[in-house]
Amino acid sequence: MKKTAGATRLRLNWGEVFSYIFLILLAAAYLGPILMLLNTSLKTMPSFMRDATAFAKELNFKNFADAWVKANFPKYLLNTMIYAVSATLIYIVTSVFVTFPIARGYVKCANLLLTLYVVALFLPPSLIPQFQLILNLGLYNNPIGYILLFLVNPMGVMILVNFIKTLPRELDEAAALEGCGYFRFVVSIVFPLIRPAIATVVVLHSIGIWNEIIAPTIYLTNKNYYPITRGLIVFQGVYGSNWPTLAAAVLMLTAPMMILFLFLQRYIVSGLTSGSVKG
């Protein structure tokens, strides 16, 4: 018995060493390009044009101020937040109510519906028909129409269905026996239990909205409605882009998403669920 324990500890240590080697090698591949972005954001345009990859000795923090003003950050960032928050919120709520009965088979043709959602992953891009639809609905150049575009994401549906399947059915039965209704069950039992999956989907879905560039170009022509990505095109040009300012702008643009990710990571990897769900 003693022997086994010792051997286990030794193996675990080796495992840890391998783990760290793997993590650090991979980290190098991730840090390299990201540091290049940071470096670029601190260069002046002429210095970038002369030698794009040289170390940014000049520490030109002015890029950040320039980007903030020229891309109209205060106003457009707010718009982006409104779109991302409201679309994600509506999407998550409607999707859980779609995925739970599908995963459980509580609706007829659950399999057909699931297949339809899987097919949605494959669907060809249909920019012009979608545009004509929104136009005919009278939602062109309208934030509501824009948000409507982001209420579908088959990838999130896949993630949620597969996650809900890991919840034991006995839960439903027990809750129902105690007189819990369907709506209340989903809201107060299922939602908390699938937190890791919801957090994952929230991050992925909101990043998609946050970085979207084509849709606002086409659907929103009123400057009061522009999201921040629409402001960033100030730094791009047909005959060459202002990469340093763009890099600075992107670092600022993605900061809220970083914070969101760091915040939600707790929910994704919380370990809380494992206690409450017993197989």
């Binding site: 760290y20 509580y106 609706v107 992953l121 060809p124 991050v203 990897v269 370990g271």
Partner: protein, 308 residues
Amino acid sequence: MNYYFGRGGAKLIPYLLLLPGVAVYFLISLGPSIATSLYSLTDATGIQGAPIRWIGLENYREFLFMGQASRDNLDALGRTLIFCLCVTVIQFVLGLAAAVILNQKLRGRNFFRTLYFMPVIYGVVIQGLMWTLFLYPLGGPMANLLRWFGGRSEFLGGQPAEAFAWVIVVQIWANMGITMMIFLAGLQTISSELYEAAVIDGAGGWQLFRNVIWPLLTPSVNTNLTLNLIGSLQAWQLFMILLGYRNGTQVLGYLIYATGFGQTSGSVTTSFRQGYAAAASMVLFFLVLAIGLPVQRFLRRREERILG
């Protein structure tokens, strides 16, 4: 299936609550796509007021069977499959390894998780900029590293096969974080008691993985395989940003975008060809369907076998 929450009218509640989500999906996503499939049989330009004629399968004939252009299209199709295979396999393995390792109580695990996920946050334009700089052949970091070992390379500007390989690397780099996240979320469903029981039974790292983690991860495995497969079949933006429209490197998704929006070369003015672009994207749709659906069916069967 047994429905526990009441009888009769109460059984309709799930339908009622499911309706908004499904209705939006039909309206926003499925409807326009059906319109696209109809467009593919016409010579529509997509311009308001221009006449539209049914031309049957003519667009498909042009894309698949007309002259050298169609043979070039089929080459692109072949490359798409290679790209898909490489990306799916490598991204899956790396993402799984990272998730399993980062699910342990290791020092700095939050840092690594965040780092690996960062590219996802940045979006393609910036991913492209980062790698263009990182792989800059005249004095970029990779070029310097390679020079220490006496090598040199043009990386993204190299021969088509080499450039193509680098896009595979960047694609994996950019999306591995998602795979990792989904696995990490899946790992939370495995109760810690199961781990402990297995460790007490004397299971080592590999056995623990093989007998406990792997089977219980099946739902996440399915999600990831499906997403990687479809994502890589449809990928094109990194090709545009990293390589531009270069012969011998295009994949189907990029080809469709470039022909649909007239960006195959420099400043040439092309036509609005909604119908033809629709046909090309339908070809990709059928390809993804032909690969995706059987894989999906296989994965579902496997899941039923393992999880019951």
